[in-house]
């Protein structure tokens, strides 16, 4: 309409908010949806406000919401913004206004099958069944989430039967171990978080594409994959991978385009010689978290084989996030899930997002600025097929210029007692943990 794109949502009727400490239960209406999305679009109240630039939200009637976009978006790009992800969560307007934005953090009010009952810091969150759930009263009487920071303790609690479901360790060995225990099973499910290595091309000698390509050829995907094992992890051939989303490159497509970068240390050394560099040294910081540290250690060993020295200093996770955003690392290994290729490209490869110096600094650690036009063209493209082609082209360019080397994606891993039946097939969860629904049951 008038060059703008309009999305109209018809809300399900009879969806009831849980009663809050200061509010009664009431029906979710367009007021709540508009309130929530306006809150998400406000940079004073949301870290995701940039996602909603150029959008207006209006109530048409109690069950109809209209969202108008100044710039049209394809469904692939638009729908994650209003899904239960990042800024898309719908909140109870009455509860937020009554309790204030701080109190709601520790007493959430929702519409799901289980409602908040109690929170004890460092200990547990207790949820009880919400019998007025719109899909029917839950079979379970409640759910208790316990905070158990140590993975060994969680595993022992699962084995003793005190816990029914626990967050596991993202390793195939752990999956095998749990599956071998009578009465237990390990669930491996999405979403996958992609691990990729960014090269800061703004500094010498990484400004030479031959050096970046040399480092890429020195990396052995199989060794990185072995750190976690299949099916917990899978190798990928583009930063926005085909295994997880449209617009990614399969292995065959990457090989065809000559950007698969299969392990080839001889080619790596040849490229370094062509570039006229030798005795390269880099110093980096890594997070203490296994998921980062193991990759840096593997990279250190791989680069040593081609005569490149990588010194790795371990810091705690918040320090790592802080330092890499200050452009401390020439080589940044990053792990991220994003719902579509545009999110990956905009945040990691658009020049606006270059760390420190970009107009809107984000996570463009490579300082790459060669695909801005393509990213913007793809973002504005409303034909899904054409959009996918553009994304593939961007993925290819990133690899040709070796701004980043994609390694693998890691799935989520949870251990479960076989007495637990989720009531649905656990394939993928945006929330990164298994969804306990109204159909979930425990036998025995």
């Amino acid at each position: 309409m008038d060059g703008k794109q309009v999305w109209t949502f018809t809300l399900r009727q009879g969806v009831m908010w849980h009663p809050g400490p200061q509010t009664e239960s009431y029906e979710l209406t367009a007021d709540d949806v508009v309130f929530s999305l306006q809150k998400s679009a406000n940079s004073d109240t949301s870290a995701y406000a940039a996602e909603y630039t150029g959008m207006t939200f209006e109530k048409v009637d109690d069950y109809t919401v209209r969202i108008t976009l100044d710039t049209p978006l394809s469904p692939l790009l638009f729908l994650p913004k209003v899904a239960n992800y990042s800024g898309g969560f719908i909140m109870s307007q009455r509860a937020v206004e009554a309790m204030g934005p701080d109190a709601i953090k520790t007493h959430p009010v929702g519409t799901g099958p289980f409602m908040f009952q109690n929170y004890t810091p460092q200990n547990a969150i207790e949820l009880v069944a919400w019998d007025n759930y719109f899909r029917g009263a839950p079979k379970l009487a409640g759910v208790t989430l316990r905070f158990m920071p140590d993975p060994s303790s969680r595993e022992l609690a699962l084995q003793s039967g005190e816990m029914d479901v626990v967050d596991g360790i993202s390793e195939a060995r752990w999956v095998d171990k749990i599956n071998a225990i009578d009465g237990l099973t390990a669930d491996v499910f999405g979403v996958g978080e992609v691990t990729f290595v960014n090269f800061d091309m703004s500094r010498e000698p990484l400004s030479d594409v031959r050096v970046r390509q040399a480092l890429a050829y020195a990396m052995n995907r199989e060794e990185h994959l072995a750190l976690f094992g299949e099916p917990v992890a899978q190798s990928v051939y583009s930063v926005a991978p085909a295994e997880l989303m449209a617009g990614g490159l399969t292995r065959e497509e990457a090989e065809q385009a000559g950007v698969a970068y299969d392990y080839d240390p001889d080619r790596a050394q040849q490229l370094l010689a062509e570039a006229g560099v030798q005795n390269l040294t880099f110093e980096v910081v890594t997070s203490e978290l296994d998921s980062y540290r193991k990759h840096y250690e593997a990279l250190q060993a791989q680069l040593a084989k081609i005569g490149v020295t990588l010194t790795v200093n371990v810091v705690d996770h918040p320090t790592f996030h802080s330092l890499i955003r200050e452009n401390v690392n020439p080589i940044v290994i990053y792990i991220a899930f994003r719902p579509n290729p545009d999110a990956y490209f905009s945040q990691f490869f658009h020049s606006d997002a270059i760390v420190v110096t970009g107009p809107k600094p984000n996570t463009n650690f490579s300082h790459y600025d060669k695909v801005d036009d393509l990213i913007e063209e793809a973002r504005a493209e409303t034909d899904p097929d054409r959009q996918v082609e553009l994304w593939k082209e961007i993925n290819t360019r990133i690899l040709q210029d070796m701004a980043a080397m994609p390694l693998l994606y890691i799935n989520q891993v949870y251990g479960r007692s076989k007495r637990v039946d989720y009531g649905h097939e656990l394939k993928s969860s945006l929330a990164l943990y298994p969804q306990i629904t109204e159909l979930t049951t425990i036998t025995g």
Binding site: P149, D150, A157, H321
Partner: protein, 313 residues
């Protein structure tokens, strides 16, 4: 004694101020800030700046410092930068669990460690002494978290005698004790090793003193010589050690709290440091500093009970 106690407390105030100022500076100097920690993967510069403003971190440092100190004087420990909840509520929940764990561990250490120390001192260079010393060395060498996991494996998983989750409800004392047992034993055994070795060492020195020889020469029984004369003299260094252990346990119990999934001050502190939650870190340090002053004072007062030569002026 009351005047002495009051003087000690007043003297502690400048020390407390110095410690708090140091902590205030240190947490802000370490890389990373609460906004980045809270936003994690989504920490774009724009989002970080917006959140820092909402957290009040855009104010000049001296303003933040004055706000913090004036809040302290009013008894307001502030709100967590991450959860926005009053820090006092978090401490109020965590502190009793930490105190009960520390007290239980020290009690176990005293009940087991002192007799072991006395026996190994009296039976010096015998098999009893050798076994005792090897066991205490093992206790000193075992990391607390590893001992905790071993206890969990055998007593919770294999034999199902104790729960894996180490914190119960204070309203149900028996259940609470059941949850406390394994974590207390885990820390208590290590305390036993320290107290046992210290007691042995001190007792050996004391048993060689002239007045002990005199007591024996007077024909007193071995039991009276040991407990009324030798052990009484050995108590002063033991009291000092227990005071030091009590202080260190408040913080060092964090690994046990993590392994047994217990709430506690140590775990709260570590979590706050990881998240760069300045307010919570500073406020917990206030509590720690007060504890240290209190425990040191108690230790000194106990000296007076144990050693009649000590007078408080």
């Amino acid at each position: 004694m009351a005047v002495y106690a009051l003087k000690r407390i007043l003297l502690a105030v400048p020390t407390l101020l110095a410690v708090l100022t140091l902590i205030f500076i240190i947490v802000r100097v370490v890389p990373g800030d609460p906004a980045t920690a809270a936003l994690g993967d989504y920490a774009s510069k724009e989002a970080v700046e917006a959140l820092r403003q909402r957290m009040g971190l855009d104010k000049p440092l001296y303003v933040q410092y004055v706000d913090f100190l004036s809040g302290l004087l009013r008894g307001d420990l502030g709100r967590s930068l991450i959860s926005s909840q009053p820090v006092i509520d978090q401490i109020r929940f965590a502190l009793p669990h930490t105190i009960e764990l520390a007290v239980a561990a020290i009690l176990i250490g005293l009940v087991l460690g002192i007799p072991v120390g006395i026996i190994t001192a009296v039976r010096r260079n015998t098999m009893v002494d050798y076994v005792g010393r090897v066991l205490s060395l093992a206790g000193l060498s075992f990391p607390a978290f590893y001992l905790g996991i071993l206890l969990l494996y055998f007593f919770s998983v294999r034999w199902r005698l104790f729960p894996t989750l180490g914190a119960g409800n204070f309203s149900d004392p028996l259940a609470n004790l059941h949850h406390l047992a394994l974590p207390a034993i885990s820390l208590g055994l290590i305390e036993t090793a320290y107290i046992g070795r210290m007691t042995r060492s001190v007792m050996i020195n004391v048993l060689g003193d002239d007045y002990v020889r005199t007591a024996r020469a007077k024909g007193l029984s071995n039991r009276v010589v040991l407990l009324r004369h030798a052990f009484r003299a050995a108590l002063i260094p033991i009291v000092s050690l227990v005071g030091i252990f009590a202080i260190s346990l408040i913080g060092s119990s964090v690994l046990t709290e993590i392994v047994f999934s217990r709430p506690g001050l140590g775990r709260l502190m570590v979590g706050a440091i990881r998240q760069r939650d300045y307010t919570t870190v500073q406020s917990i340090m206030v509590i720690y500093a007060c504890f240290i002053v209190f425990i040191n004072l108690i230790t000194d007062l106990v000296y007076g009970l144990v050693d009649p030569r000590v007078r408080y002026e």
